[in-house]
Amino acid sequence: MILRFDATKCSGYGRCAEHLPSLFELDEWGYAALKGDGVVPDGQEEAARRAVADCPERAIAVVGEA
């Protein structure tokens, strides 16, 4: 599973980093950034889906299943 993150949409709710700290990192003002290439580690697909669904700004999308 591959995620795409749109930094222009992020408003700093931070739910992505709660669900999926292995892929999302917040800066000190709470804004998120996607770590690495967005490939979800094996076994964390459910957490990734929650991160996508829980983002109030819809800043995260699933772009592939590779």
Partner: protein
């Protein structure tokens, strides 16, 4: 003003007027004169020729041109080709020169790209009325030119490739998140080549003279020539055509700027940070400048003399970036403002330990957190100040320097903005 010191150098794009930049006096080279120099030639085998030439993008990122073209061509459907003449980088004038003085060279490159890639639309993207007029005048002169011109308000981010796509689609010219890159899905979802106008001018030159002749200039890793804007902080910029391996001191020689009176060099417009005086004598190449944590970028270099202060310059650059942020990415809005605030406190002799520690952390940790590279440019400015001018930073912890104190009471910054940035600053106030 002629540049005697460089006249024996290979000159591929500049005609007769390397020297002090005077946009008002530039007149477009007419098609008749251009055709004598550049006879028409088709695009057959052009991508392979560009590959052999080793041409890299001249807009700042130095991406291999043939690779980008193959990506657009490989999409298997007619796309869009764009000549990007939105020169957002402060203190760079080369793209304006090409649009105003050699529009036919840019159009040749654009039309070759359209033919080579089988594109459905060709667009020249500019951000000045003068550039638009020069291009439209040139288009009136030629029959082969079914080319659109899109003109936007000048802004630092307006030339970023996704902002170019947004503007052509009728949206605000601000960056979008990547992926997809424009070569994958650009204007209206079509594969889109967004190519700097200087790169396209080199394409036209390569079509006329061949890859071998292009490689006669420069180094094997960085072949060909590139346009360079050099100037003294607050002074008039000069335009030159240089090749990798020359030193900045050699490029400065004809300008009257004394290479001994250099305290710092602002590299790549504002994007490459502040380099020490050593940069004057090192080779002017992307490779050597990257080794210094900078890069060739758009090849604009501004010299700060011994009367100038690197802290004051960094403060001006960071405040510029904070104002130029399109306001979309939170990390950029907060990060650029925080770095500008901290360096301004340093400039004013009011910084504490936290300010310097924060700057160090932000300059490393904020990199890559924006949709475009503006935040990275600000991070580079802060990091280069801390790394290359550590003693100067320490001195400012003990109290402000004489130069900064003068600057504080006077209006304006050490780095004089061009007309476009002045306009932008006014708009944002």
């Amino acid at each position: 003003m002629a540049s005697e010191g460089l006249t024996n150098r290979r000159r591929l794009l500049l005609t007769d007027d390397a020297g002090r930049v005077d946009a008002e006096s530039w007149r477009p080279q007419p098609l008749s004169a251009h055709r004598r120099e550049f006879p028409a030639a088709g695009a057959c085998g052009l991508i392979e020729e560009i590959d052999r030439a080793g041409l890299r993008g001249r807009g700042g990122a130095a991406f291999p041109t043939a690779t980008k073209w193959r990506s657009v061509a490989g999409a298997g459907r007619p796309g869009v080709v764009v000549a990007n003449g939105e020169e957002g980088e402060p203190l760079s004038f080369k793209d304006r020169y090409l649009l105003l003085r050699r529009p036919h060279l840019v159009l040749d490159g654009l039309l070759l790209a359209r033919e080579a890639l089988g594109a459905a639309r060709a667009i020249v993207y500019v951000s000045s009325a003068a550039g638009r007029a020069a291009v439209e005048r040139a288009l009136d002169e030629r029959a082969d030119a079914d080319v659109e011109v899109v003109c936007v308000e000048p802004a630092y981010v307006a030339g970023e490739e996704t902002a170019v796509v947004a503007a052509i689609e009728g949206d605000r010219p601000v960056p979008r998140a990547k992926p997809p890159r424009p070569d994958q899905a650009g204007v209206d979802g079509l594969p889109t080549l967004v190519q700097n106008v200087e790169t396209l001018a080199h394409v036209a030159w390569i079509r006329r003279h061949g890859a071998e002749a292009f490689r006669a200039a420069g180094t094997p890793e960085e072949p060909g020539t590139f346009l360079v804007t050099v100037g003294r902080a607050g002074g008039a910029p000069f335009l030159h055509e240089a090749e990798a391996g020359l030193t900045l001191a050699e490029v400065l020689a004809p300008t009257g700027i004394d290479p001994r009176d250099v305290r710092a060099v602002l590299a790549g417009g504002y994007f490459g940070g502040l380099l020490t005086e050593d940069a004057v004598h090192g080779p002017l190449s992307d490779r050597s400048l990257r080794a210094l944590g900078s890069g060739l970028g758009c090849a604009a270099f501004t010299v700060l003399g011994h009367d100038d202060c690197p802290v004051e310059a960094a403060a001006a650059v960071l405040r510029y970036f904070a104002r130029a942020s399109s306001g979309q990415c939170g990390s950029c809005v907060r990060g650029t403002a925080a770095m500008a605030d901290a360096v301004e406190r340093l400039r004013d002799g009011e910084a504490d330990d936290d300010d310097v520690a924060n700057l160090r952390r932000w300059s490393a940790g904020l990199r890559g957190r924006g949709a475009c590279a503006l935040l990275d440019g600000a991070a580079t400015a802060a990091a280069s100040l801390l790394t290359n001018f550590a003693e100067v930073v320490d001195d400012h912890r003990a109290g402000t320097c004489a130069r900064c104190a003068r600057a504080r009471s006077a209006a304006g910054a050490v780095v004089a903005p061009d007309a476009a940035t002045t306009r932008e600053r006014k708009e944002r106030r």
